[in-house]
């Protein structure tokens, strides 16, 4: 691990070397094994011109859509499109695996849809993709997760041609 500082005083840690081995050692069978190195994808346009999307495991979905199956023993391998124009009141949370007491009061603590729209208004970022994307993190078959849900979301995200994707666990 290498450690450095950024200009704002934040601490930068390089965790890639050995990361997956450590996770798989501590949680056997729970993670996809990755021995290959994922190359850095650099931003190809200035941030204030970038089209941004957001992908979350928070189980956020528009009211009235099929709820995630939060009690299935091996998980739910589907995802929901969340229009980036949604108001928080248009959305609901179907996920049992993280504390939602903050998100129930202000969804932006886990799905910062209003903050991202504000950054577009202020021209900090260029625009948002029409949809954001959400699924639940409780999926106990990592091979199936990679083969189905991960591929499905990647296809759906790429269709909306973002320059930059923010990915957030819950």
């Amino acid at each position: 691990m290498t450690v450095a500082s950024d200009t704002n005083g934040g601490e930068i840690r390089q965790l890639r070397p050995g990361l997956w081995e450590t996770v798989n050692e501590r949680y056997p069978g729970s993670m996809i094994t990755k021995s290959d190195f994922v190359p850095l994808a650099t931003l190809s346009v200035p941030l204030n011109e970038a089209r941004v999307t957001f992908v979350s495991t928070a189980g956020i979905q528009p009211r009235g859509t099929m709820p995630f199956d939060t009690v299935h023993p091996v998980g739910d391998y589907s995802f929901r499109r969340v229009p980036s124009s949604s108001r928080p009141d248009d959305l609901e949370i179907h996920q049992l695996k993280y504390p939602t007491f903050g998100a129930e009061r202000d969804l932006n603590v886990i799905f910062p849809i209003e903050r991202l729209r504000e950054l577009v208004s202020e021209k900090v970022i260029g625009e948002l993709t029409p949809d954001f994307f959400s699924f639940i993190g409780y999926n106990m078959d990592p091979e199936r997760l990679e083969r189905t849900l991960a591929e499905d979301i990647a296809d759906a995200v790429c269709e909306q041609r973002p320059d930059l994707a923010l990915l957030s666990p819950a």
């Binding site: 704002n8 965790l15 928070a58 202000d106 819950a170």
Partner: protein, 60 residues
């Protein structure tokens, strides 16, 4: 804190800061897999929110 990756309820400045830190880091990244740890704790965030008196009513 789990379930609160963008801060505490109604603390717009903190939520915004966390996003901006990520965007800035992405823009300047030189190495895959690097992690930036922002120097703020959950306790500090909660105390800030209390001191600012952030509530639902003020944000409606």
């Amino acid at each position: 804190m789990m379930g609160h990756h963008f801060g505490v309820p109604f603390h717009r400045e903190l939520q915004r800061r966390i996003i901006l830190e990520a965007l800035s880091f992405i823009s300047s990244a030189t190495e895959s897999g690097a992690v930036l740890k922002i120097p703020i704790t959950w306790a500090q965030a909660r105390n800030q929110a209390k001191a600012l008196g952030l509530t639902e009513e003020q944000n409606r």
